[in-house]
Symmetry: C2
Subunit: 197 residues, 2 copies
């Protein structure tokens, strides 16, 4: 089992303390016999000769290359700038899913999706004649009792992974690693089992 | 070139008029010699014997199966419940990118990413000592002059696709097909060129 590489996706890369959180995540992975691969560690120093857009695209290329070297991912789906996950992490989930890799997920917000959208919309959900809820923009709110958009949940379940959601105090919602650690333990157990079978 | 199947991703599937918009999108594709594949058209009638979560997961399975049958995608990145794209669409972009398919994108909001995040944050962006902007949660705002998160932009450019952004009136931002049609024309031209080469 040693040597399984786990891509650690999530919006914490945007924190000023990103590298410290990456180090904590990697340490937890190591305790469970896994190699954590944290995106911010994989970014080469930007080439100042490149334009801003080209610097961003170079990071994207590097991350896609790194994902291909990983056996599985653990993605942080804690809501980011809205009721849903970070779009960059969602992109990476789809990428890993299409490569056939196992996708494990966690969220530090355990409120149902409907409640998160209602809170985001200031409580202004309406009910359609069909019984579906819609937000103030007239957009249906998925009512499948899944954690987020059904494609994200489907990527996790379809890949054989699982999702842990546990409420963290608001101030710690992007830094708490309680749900992450449960996810790592599950990943270590599942990936160990599949590598022995 | 006839027969190229284009997966039409975007949050308009959540509108009550989703099927009408799907029909309009498919008609525009057909005018350009492409076959538009609209997610809401591909959902089988839900099996009422399934639990709610299993109904959602069945749709996810169906969409992943459909994506594998498509040659390229056109994704609507118009901001959805926040300053960024819909997470389901972002997932699908990563999925198609990993399959090696061409990803074309459009947005009916042409404001720079920084401006969208500032508006979402009520103008409360701060500047870090490093010069980076961060939002009120302490999360950096990417400053690569890309339309959205760099993974999304990277998926488009890396695949050989392109992105068109054009402002639509606020009330039409989820229904306007002006930028979509430019995208279809470009896709038809590019995919035709590559099939002849």
């Amino acid at each position: 089992m040693m040597g399984k590489r786990i891509y650690l996706a999530g919006p914490e890369v945007f924190l000023s303390s990103a590298r410290e959180i990456g180090a904590r995540k990697r340490a937890i992975c190591e305790q469970h016999g896994l190699i954590g691969v944290f995106p911010a560690d994989e970014e080469a120093a930007g080439d100042p000769a490149l334009s801003r857009p080209d610097q961003g695209l170079a990071i994207s290329c590097a991350m896609e290359r790194v994902m291909r070297t990983c056996d599985a991912m653990i993605v942080n789906l804690t809501p980011f700038r809205g009721p849903s996950a970070d779009v960059g992490s969602a992109y990476e989930m789809g990428f890993m899913r299409a490569l056939g890799r196992r996708v494990f997920a966690y969220s530090n917000d355990d409120r149902p999706f409907l409640d998160r959208v209602a809170a985001f919309s200031g409580g202004a959900l309406r009910v359609r004649p069909t019984g579906e809820y819609e937000d103030p923009d007239g957009m249906a709110v998925e009512a499948f009792a899944l954690h987020d958009n059904l494609m994200l949940a489907g990527g996790v379940i379809g890949s054989g992974g699982c999702l842990f959601a546990a409420a963290a105090p608001h101030a710690e919602r992007f830094t708490s690693l309680v749900a992450f650690e449960r996810c790592v333990a599950q990943a270590a157990s599942d990936l160990g089992r599949s590598s022995r079978s």
